[in-house]
Symmetry: C2
Subunit: 262 residues, 2 copies
């Protein structure tokens, strides 16, 4: 295994840039993972590992995890403790890092099941919310998550909040939310746009049998007008007329729950 | 209004200590609030304001909020910008701070409605979870939150995550969770203990008509054994048999939703 020792090594600089910059993630189609368990999760879930970095200590201490990662990574490098500190976001790094290929299945491809349940995030900005929704989506067993409008689910904070679920849950991308939703609607799926507007249909009054896509919008502005129009039904979570609203990830959790509730 | 200028003033030191220490909050029965809106919320919601601190600038800039606070606070002080920075948790403080009296109604008192819906938190530790649950509880319109076992809902982080809901929602304390739940059960309330154990009763199979108290436990260890035994029914959120669990605040959101769902 090649050993990298210079902090200014191009491969290390590239990894840091992908860790820190949404733009670098978009341009390379790669994302950054830290930690023995999370990197092994990626390997087990057939996420393509482009580069893996290990400290000598980590190879020993986390040998089971390391084996899985070594077996699936295209390129592997041993790094010094100093580089490990440079790469790490944490106080006491485990010394294992990966660059992985982002899931890039388009929501208009064949992988969306017309009878499946999908949560669709439009312009959700807060990494903790993105991670929390993916965790809930996986735990409650929806068929996948569709992300649109710069929802940066591979932001390191989002990945951490997701507890690895973003690696296990099928993730779909989409370029144009209204068009994608119209197409999914034509395939017979029920497309729902969520809104705090209490005149919308109560989520408890919607028949969720069959394929459903439910859109959750930006924390401040909600679902965009065009996306709202492209959906078959506007739904709301009845809130007893209170002024205060639910957090975006909590609203998403209740909508996901209603999709899968039997 | 008396003007405080020395950072080492005893009143300022006491405020900082109540802001930073759960022990000081317990001992004094007070909690610390920062921000014009949040402090005015306290005044409007008949939270007792023991001391209020304002910078000269804040009194002008937030005069509407300030009037409400001035009208209800027992003691008011003008503070320097320097003291405001000392008191503040934020980069650009608004210059308004209060020490308020914690709600201390006991869950065995007369204020719990036997036909009401209550979420009960036992040993929930993470301030973000505490704040998130209180926000959800208020938005979805449960009748109150019962906290037990050092759930520190007046932690500044919890208050921030609660978006002020901890000031508006009736909060009840309890010294002994199992005994309190047994008593509430004797009053005819349905007492539920939540668990990830998939052999428990599905939450969707529980009849939530009438009074209900639902217990959510510690993030790592769940509901304690004695509390579990004291409840009439163990409930679980069906998760399609997935290994990964829901975040505590998400689980609480779904349980609250099921309590109020019509």
């Amino acid at each position: 295994m090649e050993r990298l020792t210079a902090k200014q090594n191009e491969k290390i600089k590239a990894a840091v840039s992908i860790r820190d910059s949404a733009k670098a993630r978009r341009e390379t189609g790669l994302f950054f993972l830290e930690g023995a368990r999370l990197c092994a999760d990626a390997a087990e879930n057939e996420i393509e590992i482009y580069r893996a970095f290990f400290t000598g200590k980590a190879l020993e201490k986390y040998s089971d995890y390391s084996k899985k990662i070594l077996a699936s990574a295209q390129e592997c490098y041993e790094i010094s403790e100093e580089i490990s500190s440079r790469l790490s976001d944490t106080q006491s790094p485990q010394g294992i890092f990966c660059l992985c290929k982002a899931q890039e299945k388009n929501a208009l491809g064949a992988d969306i099941r017309p009878d499946g349940k999908y949560i669709f995030l439009e312009n959700v900005q807060d990494p903790s919310n993105l991670g929390a929704v993916s965790r809930t989506a996986e735990a409650l067993g929806v068929d996948g998550m569709i992300v649109c409008g710069g929802c940066d689910i591979y932001n390191p904070k989002a990945l951490r909040a997701s507890m690895g679920s973003a690696l296990r849950l099928p993730i779909f991308t989409c370029d144009n939310a209204p068009e994608t939703l119209k197409e999914l609607g034509k395939k017979g799926m029920l497309t729902l746009a969520s809104t705090p507007d209490s005149s919308a249909v109560k989520v408890t009054d919607v028949d969720m049998v069959g394929g459903v896509v439910c859109v959750v919008g930006n924390e401040g502005n909600g679902v965009t007008r065009d996306t709202m129009s492209a959906c078959k039904v506007k739904v709301t979570i009845p809130m007893d007329g209170r002024a205060e609203s639910l957090n975006a990830s909590t609203a998403a959790a209740i909508l996901i729950w209603e999709m899968v509730r039997k």
